[in-house]
């Protein structure tokens, strides 16, 4: 009887211990599953966030650890936007005010670029380079860039009005747009890489932006960027101007607006 009792006690204790161990293992397993799910969600969010900085095939390549990321030539529209007189302003304003003004400006400009299917490739001091058609096939990249430019200028005016009302200097910006073929790929060191485009197309767009000061206009397009534009964009042809690195003077067009009204002769059949 005693032996039976001992067996019963041992079985109960053993059973309880086994149950306890099983419950603990189950809890650990659930905890692990929860953590894995959270990690997978984080990864998904990270991948979605990264998709704003590189084309899907590049994001996929990085996510799957593929070293041979795609590099190739593609047709892109490059938009350079630079604040004028900001360096002088930076000497007069307190650093924290300066950073706040610039961050507000870049935030708004980036939103506008993204809305028009472009992406900001880089900020360069008080300027920025945006690309249209670099991530995905976009036959209307010129329209998108031109719409973005007009909206950026309108947003700058709004921001500038708020700044002058607060006693700060007015902001001015020049925009240069050029369309052409560029080499696109992930460039950089092992520590710091970025998806970008390089080549003559990029250089010319940067130089066209500087030309806005010469012609005293706010936004300039090259002949290549003008091709395929919606005819409702209001453009003014400017005299051809020599540009460093170009064998012949370059014709540019001042981007002055977008006529919302339908052009004459509309009607269809």
């Amino acid at each position: 009887m005693n032996a039976l009792a001992w067996w019963a006690v041992a079985a109960t204790v053993g059973g309880a211990a086994a149950s306890g161990a099983w419950l603990a293992a189950r809890r650990r397993s659930r905890d692990l599953a929860r953590r894995l799910a959270a990690a997978a969600r984080d990864l998904e969010h990270l991948q979605a966030a990264f998709a704003r900085f590189a084309p899907p095939e590049v994001v996929d390549g990085i996510a799957t650890g593929n070293d041979g990321l795609p590099v190739g030539r593609r047709e892109v529209t490059v938009l350079f936007a630079d604040l004028m007189g900001f360096s002088a302003m930076s000497e007069r304003l307190a650093p924290e005010v300066l950073v706040r003004v610039l961050s507000t400006h870049f935030q708004r400009m980036s939103q506008i670029v993204a809305y028009h299917r472009g992406h900001v490739a880089k900020f360069i001091g008080d300027g920025m380079m945006a690309l249209f058609g670099a991530f995905e096939h976009n036959p209307w990249q010129g329209n998108d860039a031109a719409h973005a430019a007009l909206e950026m200028l309108a947003a700058l005016d709004e921001h500038s009005a708020a700044l002058t009302a607060a006693g700060m200097p007015r902001l001015r910006m020049g925009i240069g747009i050029h369309r052409g073929v560029a080499v696109a790929g992930v460039v950089g060191s092992a520590e710091l890489q970025e998806f970008t485009v390089i080549g003559a197309t990029v250089n010319l767009a940067a130089r066209i932006e500087r030309l806005t000061r010469v012609h005293e206009v706010r936004a300039l397009l090259t002949t290549e960027a003008r091709a395929g534009l919606d005819p409702r964009f209001v453009l003014r042809e400017l005299p051809s101007t020599p540009i460093r690195g170009m064998s012949a003077p370059v014709v540019t067009f001042s981007l002055e607006g977008f006529a919302q009204e339908a052009p004459p002769g509309r009607g269809g059949k």
């Binding site: 894995l36 799910a37 997978a40 969600r41 998904e44 084309p55 899907p56 095939e57 991530f135 995905e136 096939h137 976009n138 036959p139 209307w140 329209n143 395929g228 534009l229 919606d230 005819p231 409702r232 339908a262 052009p263 004459p264 002769g265 509309r266 009607g267 269809g268 059949k269």
Partner: protein
Amino acid sequence: MAREAVALAGVEWEPCLLEPRRDPEITRLVRQRLGFVPPHVHYYSACPWLVRLIIHFDYSTVPFKHLDERLVELIALVVAQDNSCRFCYAATRVMLRLQGVPDDAIRRLEQDAPISELPAGARAAVDFARRLSRASPLPDPGALAPLRAAGFDADAIREIVFITALNVASNRVTTLAAVPTAEIEGIPDRLAFRLLRPALRLIVGVQGRWARAKPLPPPVRGGPFEPLVAAFDGLPLAAIISQHLEEAWRSDLLPRRTKGFIAGVIARALGCEASERIARVLLSGEGVPEGDVDTVLSTLAAPCLTAAEEVVVPFARETVRYAPARIQRQGRTVRGAIGQAAFVELIGFAALTNAAARMAAVLCPR
């Protein structure tokens, strides 16, 4: 929200753009084909051909001969996930449960983790479906090589292309209209669903077998869509594709030339030359001069466009790649400009041509 629905629960979704309208004839047709009437069908009743297309979004009505149901649903899941279509995603999760896929497995599928654990064939099919759906860049016939390498024969590959494209269409039909998702997302959590799941699973299986037994009309030859229909020659799918394209083209809720422009813009946005050729044939048949077609496809604007087309043409471009809430807000403006019936046809035609262009890209010769 159930934890399984987390993956797409954060997707912003506008209130529905359409008013439901119960049409007795449409209701009868859908009940006859599916055995029940999904509530969202009533949003599209203004456009009968689109309702007939929606019936085929239920895969039990599609005569697949080479793909098993789980692979079909798996492709549907990843395409819906990729297109951020909350409605289709929730619907597919319900169907996977009915087919007996365990909740854990579905959850892991949603988290993308087990794609690498799938058998080689399924993995190749899912990878291909994602690439075709994203179309960034648009795959060409060379993209079919991994499917061949994974052991799929020519017919099975064409079925994979078709089911991917069908989901590209279904995602757009529900997303562009912002069909309410609350009801379908809540189904898996209902006690009745959990208790009746085995019985429902049986019913779905039987329904599928019945639907598959129905004979299909012979494929239609000739006409502007012939290059795409011919790519499915020998499969019952050819007749389905032909029927929907012809019906969509013949319907008069939107003028034909407007639909020609929609097809052309979508083809151009994707970079699909074969589809652009078809669109140009359609527009030529409607008497639109080639110069006008060139101008519209290059600039999305031209003096030849009617007031409605000026709204519709830029919107067609948006249907290729989109964020749901943004395109739903844009759609609300378009719907206000052209009215509900025309907008329903616009949704359907844009969805169908998005699907057709993706199929043509990989199956039609350049």
